[in-house]
Chain length 483, copies 2
Amino acid sequence: MGNKKYQVDYENSFSVQLSEELASNIPKLLIFVQENIAAKKFIKLKKALELIQPADISELFDELTPSDMAIIFRLLPKNIAAETFIELNSSQQNYLLEILTDKELKEITDELFLDDFADLIEEMPSNVVKRILRTVDPVKRQKVNILLGYPKDSAGSIMTTEYINLHHYLTVEECLHKIREQAMDKETIYTCYVTDEENKLIGVVTLKDLFTHPLNIKIGSIMDTNVISATTDADQEQVVGLLSKYDFLAIPITDTENHMVGIVTIDDALDVMQEEATEDISRMAAIIPEEKAYFETSVLSTSKSRAPWLLFLMISATFSSVILTKFENQLSVISVLLVASIPMLMDTGGNAGSQSSTTIIRGLVLQEVGMKDLKKVVWKEIKIGILLGAALAFVCFIKLLIVDGLILGTIDITASYGLLTAFTVSLAIFLTVVIAKLTGGILPLIAKKFKLDPTVMASPLITTIVDILALLIFCYIAIAILG
Amino acid sequence: MGNKKYQVDYENSFSVQLSEELASNIPKLLIFVQENIAAKKFIKLKKALELIQPADISELFDELTPSDMAIIFRLLPKNIAAETFIELNSSQQNYLLEILTDKELKEITDELFLDDFADLIEEMPSNVVKRILRTVDPVKRQKVNILLGYPKDSAGSIMTTEYINLHHYLTVEECLHKIREQAMDKETIYTCYVTDEENKLIGVVTLKDLFTHPLNIKIGSIMDTNVISATTDADQEQVVGLLSKYDFLAIPITDTENHMVGIVTIDDALDVMQEEATEDISRMAAIIPEEKAYFETSVLSTSKSRAPWLLFLMISATFSSVILTKFENQLSVISVLLVASIPMLMDTGGNAGSQSSTTIIRGLVLQEVGMKDLKKVVWKEIKIGILLGAALAFVCFIKLLIVDGLILGTIDITASYGLLTAFTVSLAIFLTVVIAKLTGGILPLIAKKFKLDPTVMASPLITTIVDILALLIFCYIAIAILG
């Protein structure tokens, strides 16, 4: 969230006009900035920059030369500079850290909240880290070290320790005073945490609660004692799930003995949610998730994240090849149409299976589907499979009669043998769809059962498994009916 | 967010103990509730229920019989009842509405914020809607009608009109008083909006700003005049994007002339974000998105959402069949291995293509990739394609020598013809991967260019297109090299 404090005078029409003209219009802002840097109108620039949101300044920086970026960065008020800094990519951060003096560096790091500071330490090369750590006082250094000690993607690693801590014997009025004193240095003041003398978490009170109760009442009697919290070792996804389920703006993080140690705020949770959705989508497309954006990764590292599954799936397809080698001649002798139908069968099976697996995987993520639902899933997918399989088989049969019978002449639809061939392919479609739906529905749940990530069961793996099953079904029924 | 006001006395150890024992443990809570309903201990139940979060009560309701649900619902304090009500699914809501008296109904609807009330009106059958609307006063009815008039998925349809409105000439102290008076009825008090005499939006001030400035200062001089807002007709996804980009807790919604009309709060944005991610994931798996959870939809409606793409893709696969029909005999005569390699080729092409398309689609959603990047995407995907294609071709060649040469004997690796066959398949893999990566990278951008939803270009469609390209490449190079 960051500590916003724009000192803009509404009465000053110059500022307002400037703001409306430039606000979040990056191309216009870029021209304005470049012109004024060229003309060395730094005071005008400084005044204008105060009006721009940090997220927009960061977008502007993507378009500027490094030296112009450094000029602009130095013109920013230091709280906006800090907020902008955490929005930059690591190469931009690295560049700025190299050219900033120790004094400037300290000004920035002083403004950063602990969670953002810890993220920065984690991402910078070790020589830069040493320099950064030299600028901060021992207490802050120690606090950051604790945050850095938590495992990646745990609640501890994304929390901040800058929260408002109250005691249950304080009145609403005393609490409001205390919040006023501490507001500047806290990541959020909207949710406050009530702890006992041992720092154990005993209640939560929102600023709205304080605003809707008499000033002289003790917060012990208005706080919510049914505290929803997470421990430092909880998975970040779980923390986000709790925030979203209960519609909180922040969630308290405790150690295993319920001692209050930090909070995770909704804006950080939103980022985690985006990140987790991207990871899930990547895994579903057989990609090993990367944290960086598409254009921030090298060709080599993108290739590395895509290679393992591609290789594995290519090798797995050997099974299909082996089956086809075994049956190909037999099938060809019966009818060229049979072999020619294999791509359609495989694609349809793969698509039908990945529809089901994707639905179940998403259901698991959103906690709409659980392990206990296995039977219900099996039953529902079988029914869907029969319904869709029948519809597809019917359309396929008609298509074969028209395309292969009338247009291509691959089968003779006036002879019962030709009709039987079309029937065989259609029956294979039906069975493939039913089996694909069933497999797609069950596999993510089995993965979950064995503590594997269900997303790896998505499209590509399902496709490969269903391919093999579809081919086997097809070859056997073709030989049984026509052979 | 809703108006939370738990009147629990911390000194009362009974409550605290109960809370810790039952809090968010649904199975335990279920037993507790059922036992106490059976024993008719309603006062004990009422006391306990005050401690439970609405989201948990809603989960509890999924496990209760309708009549038990009605008993519990009537025991809830009316603000918690309202918050629980909006978390229920529509059949539960419908059931409760039918059995509640007009007086009880009015108590609930009075507690609902306008956006939740509008959602309810939209989801209920018309006879229930008539009854609900009879309970509310004409002013509220008119306000809801305005909300209901905005198009689905627009900012207007998800906003609420219950925000804090301030004037620039008020002091911080005056504002704090005003907020205190209005807090109970507002969806959020943490971000306040400053409007002029014509109700035009001129600034934003957060409660934190008010807490970090002297009490006698005018808010006109501390408010942020660079207001980021959205218009009522903006897409809900765009609104969520702004909230997430700027780390706001709420965003103002204006009409086209900058008159303030409502706000969208972060908790609603979080729901929209989940919903949009689910929609994208569904579309990527060739499913027409549904709003309801997996178990809330009938077999028929799930089938309907899956059928169109399955049918379309099955029919599209006709092209592969036609190509294969044309070349099958020629290929078989050259080597059985060639036809047997087709599934592997097709799968690998499909997987390689969907990796790229998924990455680009996600990049578009997160605005990390844009139309202007077409050239960069083409160039990067070609390089990745060459790198990965070469790696896969190499592994494929080795695999063919070992599996088909040594184990199956499908090719004679001591003869140059056998080696040439393996080389042909490997070369086809290489070219397929390069073309798949290129196609997967470009197609989402082309879809975007033509104002189509890029997600429809994901796995299944890419797979079908790449299949056809892969087959054509393979057949032509096999005949050119070996024929």
